[in-house]
Amino acid sequence: MNIDLPTDIEETQEGLLAKKFSAVELVDTYLGRIEKNKDLNAFLTVSSDKAYFQAKEVDRVIGEIPQKDILKQKPLLGVTIAHKDLYLTKGIRTTASSNVLKDYVPDYSATVVERMAEAGGITIGKTNCDAWAHGASGENSDFGPVKNPWNKEYVPGGSSSGSAASVAAGLSLVATGTDTGGSIRQPANFSGVVGFKPTYGAVSRYGVIAMASSLDCMGSFAGRVSDVEKIFNVVKGKDGFDSTISDASYDKPKDRIKIGIPKEYFIEGLDKEVEESVLRASKVFEKQGIELKQVSLPNTMYGISVYYIVQPAEVSSNLGRFDGIRYGNGRDAFGAEAKRRIMLGTYVLSAGYYDAYYLKAQKVRSKIIEDFDNVFDEVDAIIAPVSPTSAFKLGEKTSDPLKMYLSDVLTVSANLAGIPALAIPSEVNREGLPLGFQLIGPKFSELSLFGLGKLYESVTHFNNKWQTNLKRF
């Protein structure tokens, strides 16, 4: 039996607890939608057996745990989850969208996967992405590109392409992603869904295939800000396996909030429609009594160069372990982009170049962090565009790696500084493609970002457009 698709966690759980539908029926519905929309290429593996197993468990506990306690014990009760194929899932194939791991079945699960399952979540499948999370379009997958659900001639953004597309098309209620240089925020922006990148050190990276270890953040996609917040509350905090994790005290949002508009993010070259839409979003906040203030992050311009030194350096080190001995295929199975990044990283770390490139980049990274520290003395958050343009066409940038790298210009700085950011969709442009903005805050300011995001949603109507688009799938 197919049911009316719930569009957020609250609706899902209300429906389950009121017995409007069962978790098994929910799974039937999502699996049907995945099957029907195979052409999006959002999923690499559909975990039907696991999903039905977990759904039956959900239906069982609904009869067992008193209704007043159930959501405290199982905050993600009945929530279908699509995991980016970088998250290890015990017994379910995990490929990193690379031929190197095309037959790899892990023996343990990532902390995020474990915690979401423990909270009542249902793993529906594993999503396609740029191989090893290297890319800004989804086109670097060894298993073919993902298509943008708003217009299939366009990319959904990357690297978490399948996760963004699966939520945008209602193939899963929520999805996980990894954000190393924008890989959650940019596909969320291109695909018209909410994308959240936590503070570095807030969510354990354990069991997620590493890209660049000083930048990787484990975040999520959903239709609404309240849903990524619910996921964050379940997955955050120490697990004993990732020594970068703090059990931070997350401060409640202040009563009077100031939002900064960083001038370096709004200069010539940014598409006019993107600029105007972000400024319109800032006016929405202003109308709600939030003060806007021009601020400056003078070293923003160097973010992309720092990122394309530090990140490939760490990539070359992390991908060194893939030698085809203990698992997976040998190094010849790496695709072109992985090879390029391994080469680039090895080059900047090699004798004679280390000081000029790697050490220099680490120093400029300090200056970028200092910029943010200064700005967050003046304001509580900043608002900025996510990408210089809306989604681009499939194939438009694949022949020129540098061109693709430049897509990351507005997102990498938050990763270099280790600070949280929330991408929120705001409008649809004349071509029918989503536009949006990001809110960036100081470390562990997640509650303020969620508060601002929910405020924005409560007085605007993008969610209705997304729900209308869902009906097409």
Partner: protein, 128 residues
């Protein structure tokens, strides 16, 4: 190189930011540079790949070289952003958190007597 409209825009954005042209003097990576790096990275590249990567890597290295003009005197490098250091745990054996031999070997079909098989790295002596 044919620049699309969109890329032109991004280029302008960057020129504005860096007051510089991306396509200036190339930091040229020669074929032997590429081969050297490939050897360090344990990658076997085909001739075709070398011809493809050399200009692509040159272009990126050239671009990121812009950092040379940033004044970083008296700036400490950042390797990570948590502010934490020397995080340790009690050194207890946790068998529940460990893989069994079978589990550890399950990812490979090249196993022998509970070991992984690897390629030989030494050659047999010819004078034996």
């Amino acid at each position: 190189m044919i620049l699309t409209h969109r890329f032109r825009k991004e280029l302008r954005l960057f020129k504005k930011w860096t007051n510089d042209s991306i396509i200036g003097d190339m930091a040229k990576l020669s074929k032997s540079d590429v081969l050297h790096v490939a050897k360090l990275a344990n990658l076997n590249l085909t001739e075709k790949e070398i011809d493809k990567f050399a200009p692509q890597l040159s272009k990126v290295v050239d671009f990121v070289g812009e950092l040379s003009k940033v004044d970083t005197n008296n700036v400490e490098p950042t390797s990570q952003t948590t502010g934490l250091s020397n995080i340790t745990r009690i050194d207890n054996v946790n068998l529940a958190g460990s893989l069994t031999e079978d589990e550890a070997l399950s990812g490979s079909d090249k196993v022998y007597n509970g070991y992984f098989k690897v390629n030989a790295i030494l050659k047999e002596r010819s004078d034996k």
